[in-house]
C-alpha cells in the first residue's frame, strides 16, 4: 500500500518539478533573466572575457562540432594524465599508485562520454585529487555538453533559412553555471546532512566490536554524488556505487538521488516545447517517455515480487530476492532506482542488477538497447527520441504518400541518413561486440554466471557502454584487457554517433524554409503521434534484439520457473 504511494508521489514530484524546471531551463537558454542571474551573470561574463568568447557570435554545425571535439580532447588528456601521475600529486592519503593504463584509458573514455562505466574500484584505485579534478570535472562538462548539443539540435527546428545553430561555448557555460552547479551545491549539502561523507581525511582502519579489522573509506564524496545524479553520470565514488552506505545512507537520500537523476531529463521535453513555441509538442514527447518508463517499471516490479521459486523452496520467506539489495531500501525503491538509472543513462545503482530476477533484467536491457531514449541522459536522451521521431515521421510520410516532414521542416535524404546512422549504431555496436565476446575465450573468461544469465551479462556489458549508461551486471569482470578496450570503443561509438549526427541534422534543418501547415499535415502533438512514436521505439528495439533477449533473460526466466540452476 505504502509502496504504491511511494511510486505515485515520486511520479507526481518529477512531473511538477519537470514543468517548472523546464520553464527555467528555457529561460536560461534564451538568455532571459532568472532568479540566479544577479549572482551568476557576472561569473558568466568573466568566463567569456577570459576565454575570448563573443556571446553574440554564432557557429555553423561544423564549428559547433569542432568546439565540442576540442573540449573533449583536452578533457581526455587531462583525465588520463591525472590517473597516471596521481602518486606524485597531493590529496592522496592512501598513497594509491598510478592506474593501470588500460583501466585509466577506459575510465577516461567513460567519464568524458558521460558513461561512467566502472572498470575500476573507486576506493582502492582513485586518489581524492583524481576524483575531484578528474572525475568530478567530467561529471560537469560531459553533462553540460549533452544539454548544449540538445539546445543546438532544437535550434535546427526553430530557425528559418540560416546556417548557424548557436554558440557552443555559451550553451556549455550556461548549462554548467545555471543548471548543474547551483543545484549540485544544494543537493550536496542535503546529502552531507544525511550522512554522506565529505572530507579530505584518509581512511579509518578500525577494530570492530568483535575485534576484526575493518577499513572505513572516506573522501570528498557528497559533492561528487550530487553531480553524479544531476548530470546522469552515475560513476560511483566507491566500488558499490550508491549501494554503499556512504554514497546513499538513508531512504531519504535514496529518494533524492533517484529524483535528481530524472529532474533534468524529465524537464527537457517541456523546455523543448517552450523553445519551439509549441508547448503541446513538449507534452507529447514527455508522454511518450512516461508511457515507456511506467510500462517497464510495472513489469520489473511485478517480476521482482514474484521472487525466485528456487529460494522459496529452500525456506526463504516468499522467495523474496534480497540478494544484491540493501535492507534500508527494500524491493520497490531498488527496482525504481534500477529502472530509472537505465532509462536515464545515469548508471548509478543502489542494488546489484546482476542479481535481479530475469524479467527485471530484461527491462533494464531493453531500456538501454533502444538507445537510451526513455528520458535518457541529460540532453542526449531527448535528442535520441527526437531522432526516432524523425524516423517515425518518415514512415508516416511513406504511409500517407506525402514527402515526410517534422515540425514544419522537410525531411530529406541527408537528415534521414544521419538519423539512420544514429539509430542503427546502437544495435550494431551492442550486437557485434557481444558476438565477438561470445566467440572468444577472452570474452567468456570474465563470466561470473553460467547458462543464459552469462549471455545477459555479456549483452549488458556492451548495451551499457554503447548507451553511455554505465551501470553493469557487475559479476562480469570488466577490468580485463579485452573488456577495457572493447567497452571503450563501444562508449566512443555511443557518444559520437549520437552527438555528431544530431548536430549535422540541426545544421541541415536550420537551412531549410518552414513548410506552411496544410490540411494534409500530420499533426505531431496528438495521441496518435504519441502511440506511433512509442511503437517505433519498441519495434526498432524489439525486432532488433528479440532473438538475443529470448536466449538471455527470457530463457533464464523459464529455467528459473522450472527450478534449473547452472
Amino acid at each position: 500500500m505504502f509502496d504504491i504511494l511511494f511510486i505515485v508521489l515520486f511520479v507526481l514530484a518529477i512531473l511538477i518539478s519537470g514543468v517548472f524546471f523546464g520553464e527555467y531551463m528555457a529561460k536560461v537558454f534564451r538568455g532571459d533573466k532568472t532568479f540566479l542571474s544577479p549572482l551568476l551573470r557576472p561569473l558568466e561574463k568573466f568566463i567569456y572575457k577570459v576565454s575570448g568568447i563573443n556571446e553574440d557570435s554564432e557557429m555553423d554545425w561544423k564549428i559547433y562540432t569542432l568546439s565540442f571535439l576540442s573540449i573533449t580532447i583536452f578533457s581526455f588528456i587531462s583525465l588520463f594524465l591525472l590517473q597516471e601521475i596521481q602518486h606524485f600529486l597531493p590529496l592522496n592519503p592512501e598513497r594509491l599508485g598510478p592506474v593501470r593504463w588500460d583501466i585509466a584509458l577506459n575510465t577516461t573514455v567513460s567519464f568524458v562520454t558521460n558513461t561512467n562505466w566502472q572498470a575500476y574500484g573507486g576506493e582502492n584505485t582513485m586518489s581524492y585529487l583524481t576524483q575531484m579534478l578528474g572525475l568530478c570535472v567530467q561529471n560537469f562538462i560531459s553533462a553540460g555538453v549533452g544539454i548544449a548539443v540538445l539546445i543546438a539540435f532544437i535550434r535546427g527546428f526553430t530557425r528559418n533559412e540560416t546556417h548557424t545553430i548557436g554558440n557552443f561555448w555559451v550553451d556549455l557555460t550556461r548549462s554548467i553555471l545555471y543548471i548543474l552547479l547551483p543545484f549540485s551545491i544544494i543537493l550536496a549539502f542535503i546529502f552531507i546532512s544525511e550522512g554522506i561523507v565529505q572530507t579530505f581525511k584518509g581512511y579509518e582502519v578500525i577494530k570492530t566490536l568483535e575485534g576484526l579489522t575493518q577499513t572505513i573509506p572516506l573522501g570528498p564524496t557528497a559533492s561528487q554524488i550530487a553531480i553524479k545524479f544531476l548530470g546522469t553520470n552515475g560513476g560511483g565514488f566507491f566500488n558499490a556505487n550508491s549501494a554503499h552506505p556512504f554514497e546513499n545512507p538513508t531512504p531519504f537520500t535514496n529518494f533524492l538521488e533517484n529524483y535528481a537523476m530524472l529532474l533534468i531529463p524529465v524537464a527537457l521535453p517541456f523546455t523543448f516545447g517552450i523553445l519551439l513555441n509549441k508547448r503541446r509538442q513538449g507534452y507529447a514527447i514527455f508522454c511518450v517517455m512516461m508511457i515507456l518508463f511506467l510500462g517497464g517499471l510495472a513489469l520489473a516490479i511485478y517480476s521482482e515480487f514474484q521472487g525466485n521459486p528456487m529460494l522459496s523452496k529452500l525456506g526463504i520467506h516468499s522467495g523474496l530476492n534480497m540478494e544484491g539489495k540493501e535492507v534500508r531500501f527494500g524491493i520497490i525503491p531498488s527496482i525504481l532506482f534500477a529502472v530509472t538509472t537505465t532509462c536515464t543513462s545515469c548508471g548509478g545503482v543502489n542494488s546489484m542488477h546482476d542479481s535481479l530476477t530475469p524479467l527485471s533484467g530484461l527491462i533494464l536491457l531493453f531500456n538501454m538497447c533502444v538507445g537510451e531514449v526513455i528520458f535518457g541522459g541529460v540532453g542526449v536522451g531527448l535528442i535520441g527520441l527526437l531522432v526516432n521521431a524523425v524516423l517515425a515521421m518518415f514512415i508516416v510520410g511513406l504511409m500517407i504518400g506525402r514527402s515526410p516532414e517534422f515540425l514544419a521542416k522537410k525531411l530529406e535524404p541527408f537528415e534521414m541518413l544521419m538519423a539512420v546512422i544514429s539509430i542503427l549504431s546502437t544495435p550494431m555496436s551492442v550486437l557485434v561486440f557481444s558476438c565477438i565476446a561470445i566467440m572468444t575465450s577472452a570474452g567468456l573468461a570474465s563470466l561470473n554466471n553460467l547458462g543464459p544469465h552469462g549471455l545477459s551479462e555479456i549483452l549488458y556489458a556492451f548495451a551499457s557502454p554503447t548507451g553511455n549508461n554505465g551501470s553493469a551486471f557487475g559479476g562480469l569482470n570488466a577490468s580485463t584487457l579485452f573488456y577495457t578496450l572493447t567497452t571503450s570503443l563501444a562508449m566512443l561509438i555511443g557518444r559520437f554517433t549520437t552527438i555528431i549526427p544530431a548536430l549535422a541534422i540541426a545544421g541541415a534543418l536550420a537551412k531549410k524554409k518552414f513548410v506552411p501547415p496544410s490540411s494534409a499535415t500530420f499533426t505531431t502533438d496528438v495521441p496518435l503521434f504519441v502511440w506511433l512514436l512509442v511503437a517505433v521505439v519498441i519495434l526498432v528495439g524489439g525486432l532488433t534484439y528479440f532473438p538475443v533477449l529470448t536466449l538471455g533473460p527470457i530463457l533464464e526466466h523459464l529455467f528459473m520457473k522450472m527450478g534449473m540452476s547452472f
Partner: protein, 186 residues
C-alpha cells in the same frame, strides 16, 4: 584554431571551478556544520573508533545479533556484492548454507521460513541493517545466552527500530551495530 584555444581556456576554468573550488568549499562548510556526519558518522568508545553507524560489521559470536552475509566479509577496503544471478547454483548453495546455520544457531525447525535479508548477501557488502523480522528471529537465542527475558530483548529491538520516513520511505529495519552496542551496555 580559435575554437581550440577557447576549448583549452574554458576547460581550465571549469576544472578550477568544478574540480577545485566546488568540492573544497563544500568540504570546508561540511567540516564546520556537519563535522560528525561529514567524517563518517564514527562511533567512539573508550577514545577508540570502533566503527561507523552507517557501515555494517561482521558478527559471529552467538551473543550478538548477526548481520547479513557479505561478499566482502565486511572488510571495507573494497565494497561489492556476489553478483550471482537468480539461476546460479552457487547462489542456491550459499543460501542453503546460510539457512542451515541460521536454523541451527537459533534452534529453528527445518521447515521454518527465514527472512530473505538474513541469508542473502547485500549489494554493498556493508549493509548496516537487518529487517525487523530478522532481528526478532534472533532475539530468543541472545536473550537465553545473556540471561535476560525475551520481552526485554524485544523491547530493546523495538527501541532501535528505524521506521520508514513519513511511513513510505524505506523499510522497517534495525541497525545491527548500534543494537549490539546497546546489548553490551545492558
Amino acid at each position: 584554431m580559435g575554437e581550440i584555444k577557447r576549448g583549452f581556456i574554458i576547460f581550465i576554468l571549469f576544472s578550477v571551478l568544478t574540480g577545485l573550488m566546488y568540492p573544497v568549499i563544500i568540504t570546508g562548510l561540511a567540516q564546520v556544520f556537519w563535522k560528525d556526519k561529514a567524517n563518517g558518522s564514527l562511533i567512539v568508545s573508550n577514545k577508540k573508533v570502533i566503527g561507523s553507524k552507517l557501515i555494517g560489521q561482521k558478527f559471529t559470536s552467538p551473543q550478538y545479533f548477526h548481520a547479513r552475509p557479505s561478499a566482502i566479509d565486511y572488510k571495507g577496503n573494497i565494497s561489492g556484492a556476489s553478483n550471482l544471478g537468480p539461476t546460479s547454483s552457487k547462489l542456491i548453495e550459499n543460501a542453503q548454507k546460510e539457512i542451515n546455520s541460521v536454523r541451527s544457531e537459533n534452534a529453528l525447525g527445518k521447515d521454518s521460513k527465514i527472512p530473505a535479508d538474513l541469508v542473502l548477501s547485500s549489494a554493498s557488502g556493508l549493509d548496516p541493517h537487518i529487517s525487523l523480522d530478522s532481528a526478532l528471529l534472533q532475539a530468543p537465542r541472545i536473550a537465553k545466552i545473556r540471561g535476560i527475558t525475551l520481552d526485554k530483548m524485544n523491547k530493546l529491538i523495538y527501541k532501535n527500530l528505524e521506521e520508514p520516513l513519513f511511513k513510505f520511505l524505506g523499510q522497517k529495519r534495525v541497525n545491527v551495530l548500534t543494537l549490539n552496542l546497546e546489548l553490551e551496555k545492558e
